[in-house]
Symmetry: C2
Subunit: 225 residues, 2 copies
Amino acid sequence: MAAARKPPRRRAPATTQTTRDLTRDKVIDAGLDLIDREGPDAVTMRRLADHLGVTPMALYNHVSSKTDLLRAVAERALSEAEFDAGHADWREQVKACFRVFRALCLRHPGLARLLETPDVAPAAVFSPMDVTLRALRWTGCNDQDRLRAYFTLVGFTLSQTSYQSRGPFPDLEPSDRVRAERLAGRGYPSVESLRMPATWDFDAAFEFGLSVIVRGIEAVAGARR
Amino acid sequence: MAAARKPPRRRAPATTQTTRDLTRDKVIDAGLDLIDREGPDAVTMRRLADHLGVTPMALYNHVSSKTDLLRAVAERALSEAEFDAGHADWREQVKACFRVFRALCLRHPGLARLLETPDVAPAAVFSPMDVTLRALRWTGCNDQDRLRAYFTLVGFTLSQTSYQSRGPFPDLEPSDRVRAERLAGRGYPSVESLRMPATWDFDAAFEFGLSVIVRGIEAVAGARR
DNA sequence: ACCTGAACACCGTTCAAGT
DNA sequence: ACCTGAACACCGTTCAAGT
């Protein structure tokens, strides 16, 4: 619309091109903006183009496909974070790493789902992996077990954050689901008899799971050593 | 195509209607078939209708929306399983429950992704939840911690199975990703120095994570008691 | 009550054309 | 080199019409 009103005037001699000249950087920035504000489903080539005041096909000059775009967006988001907290104790180092990971996923709703999607996970996912594998050297685990431990941690973290990021749909909150089902409840006595608080504490739930996994790694590593 | 060739003949007097009379059951069965054979992305109202020899809109007589269909498909798949193995020891009971859960997700590729999708998770997800919460009574954990432990277990299981179900894309297998990145590797020394087998053992990785979480629950519960 | 056919408002992407 | 516009092959779903 606005583009149609604008006549094809000659461009000024290389100065003050205002918001002209689409670049890959601008496309990725706009993609991250869009995903942060409207969720991952809102990221559409057409919507993104609208947002940039350009035709959908203009994006393909800077991005080879939607998958390429999403991978670049995920890479940019991941590059914000420093996963190495420099703790001497491996338990604290691992916990700090995944607290950063979680905070990043919550700051960019939809990032978790992006990282779970095949093909879009960027090379930067190896950054928290590297920190974790290094810390886990102190456990005495072999290479395979350290990698298995990492996948346990990252799977837990991604599933918790992507679950939380879907909110605020009240019916998805654990405590509400439990309550809703209690009303319709038949056949799930241990679920029905749960005594739950009014709101679910996602932070505490994450810390609980993180402690469980770290202590579990400690126990399993000790048994195998 | 085949439907167009068929003239609108009168139906036989209530006998041998062959494959006539679409029912909700048939729609759900066909949906599960389709998702099992071609993956969750193949489940499309139009494709499913084609598969049933019917117009896309005919499905809406038995299913209120695509979400409704997917939820029903997930419910049917979940109803196949018995999560309660009747173990006396809570650790073995929990492990058995999630081994069944995992086997179910692997038998129906795409089920894991369905269960991770908001709104489509059916009420039947409370079945493994009930078994787990009951077993965890033996740990002495309070209601909140038992639920947190359940979410840790289910998140881990879903992420592992949905990761595995995306295969067999060789570039997604952990060991291959690691190897691929090692080549392009810069800045991830602990990743690059990994000594990995040629193929990734998903079963062993799952058992490792399961042991880690169960022993972690044991340790955390003991500390809080 | 159940199904069809046309239509609507979307997708990602290709291709030929403009500058 | 970069962008546009029309088009293609898809989506889920609405609506009016048939039987």
